[in-house]
Amino acid sequence: MTVTTLPKTAPQNGTTRGSGEKAVGVTSHVVLAIWSVVVLVPFLWTLMSSFKTTREIFASPFSLPQEWQFQNYVNAWNTAGIGSYFVNSVLVVACALVLTMIMGAMTAYVLARFEFRGRTVIRYLVVAGLTFPVFLAVVPLFFILQQVGVLNTLPGLILAYATYAYPFTVFFLVSFFEELPNEVAEAAAIDGASEWRTFFQVMLPMAGPGMASVAILNFVGLWNQYLLPVVLNSNRDNYVLTQGMAAFASSAGYDVDFGALFAGAVTTIVPVLVVYLIFQRRLQGSVSAGSLK
């Protein structure tokens, strides 16, 4: 629509320039479309392969399944244990997410709105946790969890997830709490609200958009977490989904039920796809907001 009206409004109304414009637009679309295909095709191929028998998978990468093997999903869910890994993942990620959001919001609130000795030090400590490679910490962390007695348990994993997501959460939320108007908190104090009530009933709801952005980024990060469970959680019954998928993929190499492997991959992707499609606007928004800080 805009394309047809443009030549009239164009300052230099040469036809060559107009067609050059069009060529650039078309080229841009072609390049971006090619990239979209490159992104989508592996996923679509995975989806298609998840309905094929292992024999069909090895016969040809392109052939459609002769019969749609929904059995692959049943096998992945039950035989390969993806079902119980899935439940573990939901449990661990949900608990860790709540824990890290509560702890992070509380700390960020105090750091943003109170002055006290040691505030700068704590801010630096939070940044330090963001810059050190996690790989440096995993060995000692393994033994700390062992000493506390939560190694290879879901509570131990929740604790590790929550504390490792904590510096990011605080770092991101401090700026949100700093931007809240001071007058509201003061009005609440004058009305006799306690510090606790001021936080939970006044300040926290006002920081809602920031909380939502950080929560989504944390969800993606925690759901995709791989290193922490591999190191801290070697009990097969407690495997989370990422770990379980890795074990499934490498379990035999020769005797793997590849149809079920593809089905397991699809099962892992679908929850994040749903969350992504619902929240993609906010997710991309929070990435952008983060970039401009």
């Binding site: 300052p11 440096l136 393994f142 604790l159 606790w196 993929a249």
Partner: protein
């Protein structure tokens, strides 16, 4: 949403030590920071100490051996190989990802009609939604999928190549060949990150006042010129931050390696530092040595971060902006 909100200053009047205030500080600050110290910061300092011991995990005390672990590492050919591979990733992954994602972001931002106002491309939100998606898929699953895509006989890639008439790629093992394994791995990492950084750069480019680009256009600058000499310097901060993130990630890369070539690849051509740390610690039980590797990794990370930010500072000083 944030516009119009006056940035609040923290309350400056001294607070009395009421139960309300003290309990808030203890619960809001004390408990989370204590957990953070115990589970995150303390392990970092402990790792530095363990790296000076010959600890194997079974003794209650650790024997101090000074810098022996470090001298051992500098003669350990496998570890040096891993460091070399990690440095290759550090050099290649950020540059390729940044160039590709910045180019796509510029197409999205400037690809629309350039007569009149600077416009984005129509349908740009579709491209953004699609390209960003790999970022939210667990990296291990991305790795598993591409492990199948690269499969010599039943994989999608060789299927496409042979169907396209390139018969010599029948049964070519992309991940099993020392000369292609690393490149094939880099492609997967780049593939999964480009969309994320594209979205980031689109946001950065949109925050630049459009007058700037329109002025450049009036002066006769083409799109490519605009993207490289006008837009890139104005979003240099975002580019630098992205470069650091990507570099830190490239130095890790553990997840992708675990999915594509868990044992270091053919002739250890994709073995990276993080894999060496993992196997030295949890397979060999040489925790002291593994921690020394961790310290080396941290030092490389800091050197890289310092270099990128330091270089940025120098450039700004020279250009006087």
């Amino acid at each position: 949403m944030k516009a119009g909100v006056v940035k609040a200053t923290t309350s400056r009047h001294p607070r009395r030590l009421t139960f309300d205030h003290v309990s808030l500080m203890v619960v809001f600050l004390g408990i989370p920071v204590a957990l953070y110290l115990v589970f995150v910061l303390y392990p970092f300092t402990q790792a530095a100490w363990y790296s000076l011991t010959s600890w194997s995990g079974f003794t209650a005390t650790q024997e101090f051996i000074g810098l022996d672990n470090y001298t051992r590492l500098f003669t350990d050919r496998l570890f040096l190989k891993a460091v070399g591979n990690s440095l290759v990733l550090l050099l290649v992954v950020p540059v390729v990802t940044l160039v590709l994602s910045y180019a796509l972001a510029c197409l999205l931002t400037f690809g629309g009609s350039s007569t009149g106002a600077v416009r984005g491309l129509k349908g740009s939100s579709f491209y953004r939604v699609v390209s960003f998606f790999p970022y939210v898929v667990p990296a291990i699953v991305v790795g598993i999928i591409f492990g199948r895509v690269y499969d010599p006989s039943a994989g999608l890639l060789n299927g496409l190549l042979t169907a396209g008439g390139l018969g010599r790629f029948t049964d070519f093992a992309w991940l099993g060949n020392p000369s292609t394994a690393m490149a094939a791995t880099v492609v997967v990492i780049v593939w999964s990150f480009v969309g994320f950084y594209m979205v980031l750069f689109v946001a950065a480019l949109r925050s630049v006042p459009t007058e700037l680009f329109e002025a450049a256009r009036l002066d006769g600058a083409g799109r490519f010129r605009t993207a490289v000499s006008i837009a890139a310097p104005t979003v240099a901060g975002s580019l630098r931050t992205a470069y650091v993130y990507l570099g830190i990630f490239a130095l890790d890369a553990f997840v992708f390696m675990a999915a594509l070539n868990p044992d270091g690849g053919p002739a250890n051509s994709t073995l990276v530092i993080t894999q060496q740390i993992f196997s030295t610690a949890f397979r060999d039980g040489r925790f002291g040595l593994a921690c020394a590797m961790g310290v080396v990794l941290a030092l490389i990370t800091f050197a890289f971060t310092g270099l990128v930010f330091g270089a940025g500072r120098i450039v700004r000083k020279v250009t006087g902006s």
